[in-house]
């Protein structure tokens, strides 16, 4: 299956239109997303260590939503896979899916950085 694009350019254009009133809404939103993402990454890491599937699932769900909101489609997709795995009676590939999320972070930050510096 083809991977989603790192960023959804249509979504980002729609978000940037909300800056028309002179605010830095998009930049603030990305800032907020990255802060939340860091907290969520730490929470998932701990939950994987303690085997708390429920927290893994709910945190991945939350990050899936906020990733989709800022147009981070590939991150949303990776989080969705982790959420689905956590819903299974016994999660077997949680660490592998999480490492895919971790590995995607630099690419996402680089892509977001291009928009933030515009």
């Amino acid at each position: 299956m083809a991977l989603s694009s790192v960023l959804n350019s249509d979504r980002i254009a729609a978000l940037m239109e909300l800056d028309d009133d002179g605010s830095d809404f998009f930049a603030d939103l990305v800032e907020m997303y990255l802060e939340e993402f860091e907290v969520a990454r730490a929470a998932i890491r701990t939950a994987l260590d303690t085997g708390d599937q429920k927290v893994v699932g709910s945190t991945a769900h939350r990050i899936k939503g906020s990733s989709g909101n800022i147009g981070a489609d590939r991150m949303a997709e990776l989080c969705s896979e982790l959420e689905a795995a956590a819903m299974a009676p016994e999660m077997t590939n949680g660490r592998e899916l999480f490492s895919r999320i971790e590995n995607h972070v630099p690419e996402l930050l680089a892509a977001l950085g291009k928009y933030r510096s515009r």
């Binding site: 979504r11 729609a14 978000l15 909300l18 028309d20 009133d21 809404f25 939103l29 907020m32 997303y33 939340e36 769900h61 939350r62 899936k64 939503g65 906020s66 989709g68 909101n69 800022i70 147009g71």
Partner: protein, 453 residues
């Protein structure tokens, strides 16, 4: 008038802010909450016109929240958003009363179109509900005639219609205060919203309070369910309170709070609610006199009397009476299936000479009674039965009647005015007592007295 308010409920701040920003950029006023509990607090305080709610919240789901929101704002349109895009959940949400179910991340144009459609349909439902709360009444021109007094009223009313300030209409009973209030609503900034009216003189303090402010379930014996008050139904529209001078002094501060803070509390409720109304009040009494007698609060009087309008009584615009009578007769003819209804010259003269204590309402009653009881299309003075005596003695002289009939009616009128006292009536008629007795006998007049002489 306040802007349309939308409540956005999502625990994820980024998504909550995005939707809020989108809606604000399209002119909506947005209140935000991160949880079910927060949403209920916001709804109570701000009375939203629509809610956009994320399905999964820290203290429950949107389906748990939905009925509780609608307890506060009846029929509130609710859009549920979810990152779980399952069909089963969507079906369940719609079955349980959600108006729309959208998958996140929501497309901005889709959300905006849905919000706009739901608001339009919500407003239509509110208007329908408002129309059910008032008696069906025909539209009527509030400024019939050409007298200087009515022309001045029209000029004043046109000047103030566009304002959003309270209006106080003063006028005797039956002068058309309600019709004027409705006209002001329909020609004002809230014309597309609800118009709700209530006559305060006919209700007890307790009943008036529940009618105005609504009540919660169990707030008094017989309150088997909660009910919104008229001020709630009139949200964003106009509330017309007729005979406001009759509002109990203990209810008056609550009404003042609605005007000053846009807040009120249902009977039995513990928290305030929000409502945004334009108040039009009316009274036949001199409210300044009531203020002096401490029967009406001075602060409330000053708040409602920003724009005073006076509807003149019919007796002060006699030349308008034939015009108004013709309008009423046209309507009556259509109602009772006559090709037309007109007035004889004598009937028109009688109408002009009568004092009309009940004003246009009384005129309509007199004409309606005359039209129904008469088989002719032209009403003559004998068809007109006035509710009190004519203003200037024997006003209903009708040349179409015989001399004997006119004499009978003349004698009868004078006797009635003298309360059956033969001696004083005879003196006024220029007759001896015996001559008057003979005429009473001749015409078969029954003497009635309220007090013996």
């Amino acid at each position: 008038m306040s802007r349309i308010r939308i409540l956005v409920v999502d625990d994820e701040p980024g998504q909550r802010l995005t939707i809020s920003k989108l809606l604000e950029s399209h002119g909506y006023q947005v209140d935000q909450a991160p949880s079910c509990a927060g949403a209920l607090d916001e709804a109570r305080a701000s009375r939203p016109d629509l809610a956009v709610v994320d399905y999964l919240l820290p203290d429950g789901t949107a389906l748990d929240l939905l009925p509780r929101l609608r307890e506060m704002v009846a029929e509130l349109p609710v859009v549920i958003l979810t990152a779980h895009g399952s069909i089963d959940l969507a079906v369940r949400a719609i079955k349980e009363g959600a108006d729309q179910f959208l998958t996140k991340p929501v497309e901005f144009p889709t959300l905006l179109v849905i919000v706009q459609r739901l608001l339009e349909s919500y407003r239509d439902r509110q208007k329908l509900q408002a129309s059910r709360t008032r008696q069906a009444r025909e539209r009527f021109d509030p400024f019939p005639g050409a007298s200087p007094l009515i022309r001045k009223l029209e000029a004043d009313a046109r000047r103030v219609a566009a304002s959003d300030s309270p209006v106080l209409i003063h006028g005797e009973t039956g002068t058309g205060k309600t019709i004027l209030a409705r006209w002001l609503h329909e020609n004002g900034p809230r014309a597309e919203e609800s118009f709700v009216d209530l006559n305060c003189s006919t209700l007890s303090k307790e009943f008036l309070e529940t009618e105005l402010f609504g009540h919660e379930k169990g707030s008094f014996t017989g309150a088997i369910g909660s009910k919104p008050g008229l001020l709630e139904v009139a949200h964003r529209g106009t509330a017309f309170l007729d005979e406001i001078g009759d509002i109990d002094v203990h209810v008056q501060p609550k009404l003042l709070k609605v005007l000053e803070e846009k807040r009120y509390r249902r009977l039995g409720a513990v928290a305030d609610r929000f409502t945004d109304i334009r108040l039009i009040a009316a009274s036949h009494q001199d409210l300044t006199e009531l203020v002096r007698n401490k029967a009406f609060r001075g602060d409330l009087y000053f708040r409602i009397s920003t724009i005073p309008l006076t509807v003149p009584p019919l007796r002060e615009r006699v030349d308008d009476i034939p015009v108004i009578a013709r309008i009423l007769l046209d309507r009556l003819a259509a109602d009772i299936g006559r090709s037309e209804l007109t007035l004889s010259q004598g009937a028109e003269k009688a109408l002009r000479e009568y004092s009309w204590p009940g004003n246009i309402r009384e005129l309509r009653n007199v004409l309606e009674r005359g039209a129904i009881l008469s088989e002719r299309n032209m009403l003559v003075p004998s068809d007109l039965r006035f509710e009190s005596q004519p203003a200037h003695g024997f006003a209903t002289l009708d040349t179409s009647l015989s001399l004997a009939e006119n004499e009978r009616r003349y004698v009868e009128t004078v006797l009635a005015e003298e309360n059956g006292r033969v001696e004083t009536a005879a003196r006024r008629l220029g007759l001896s007592r015996n001559s008057l007795y003979l005429k009473i006998k001749k015409h078969g007049i029954v003497l009635s007295r309220r007090a013996a002489t």
